[in-house]
Symmetry: C2
Subunit: 147 residues, 2 copies
């Protein structure tokens, strides 16, 4: 896979989602990229941390801010395998992320179910990269959970 | 002040907001109460932690979950001096908080500007306790910041 492309970064986020899957977490993964470099990687850890706020995006935003020493991330791009929820969209807003690329849509809890305007007006948004793989991983997880 | 009343708990949250003020943070404070006991206290620490996700509610929800060893907080009440933003309302949703009592409304960034339905349907909501004091503290902070 060609380096430094959206597809490459989303695949890195997907690798994080697979780690979440292996650890019994709802499989969602994220990376944050700044000037082509991945400065944060995270996956959902709500079970391990016993903390509903430990979504992949939240952890990735916190880690990216630590890496840069800045609360605001206008020069950063977030790659996340699933559409952010309202909480995570709110965090994206506050961080003023430059770009958000999400994979699968979340028709139940995705922020766009509430409003397209939860993100910062300067944030560029795209979706659909590796959507099918990300959705299949989630479906597989919930199917396993039910059995 | 009478113990174990909403006014008492909100005053404890307000004490947290005053600590935030003294530390140069936007002065918002929170406590989480479970079976009459305060199990978490927190104030906004976005500056100190260089982290936009470090709102008082987020820190309080994480701390309360740690204290109880449970991600979900249906038997808990959150007292927060300012109306939660979208991010924090999303966290409140996921935690299934039993009650939320907020002080001052936030006409710019309060979740109710977006939708009244961001909270969990089982969460009881009230507002207005110590609203004037909480707003004055915020106004004082921003006035000082501008000078």
């Amino acid at each position: 896979m060609e380096l430094y492309t959206d597809a490459y970064y989303m695949n890195e986020a997907f690798k994080m989602a697979k780690i979440a899957f292996e650890e019994g977490e709802i499989p969602v993964g994220a990376v944050v990229v700044c000037r082509k470099k991945i400065i944060a990687r995270a996956y959902n850890q709500t079970e391990k941390l016993t903390d509903v706020t430990a979504h992949a995006e939240m952890l990735a935003i916190t880690a990216a801010a630590n890496a840069l020493g800045s609360k605001y991330l206008p020069e950063c791009a977030l790659y996340i395998t699933l559409e952010p929820c309202v909480m995570c969209a709110g965090a994206c807003f506050w961080s003023q992320l430059g770009e958000i690329h999400y994979g699968a849509s979340d028709p139940r809890r995705g922020f766009s179910q509430i409003s397209q305007y939860l993100l910062h007006p300067k944030t560029k948004l795209s979706s659909g990269l590796m959507a099918e793989e990300s959705k299949q991983l989630l479906d597989h997880f919930f199917k396993k959970l039910r059995n």
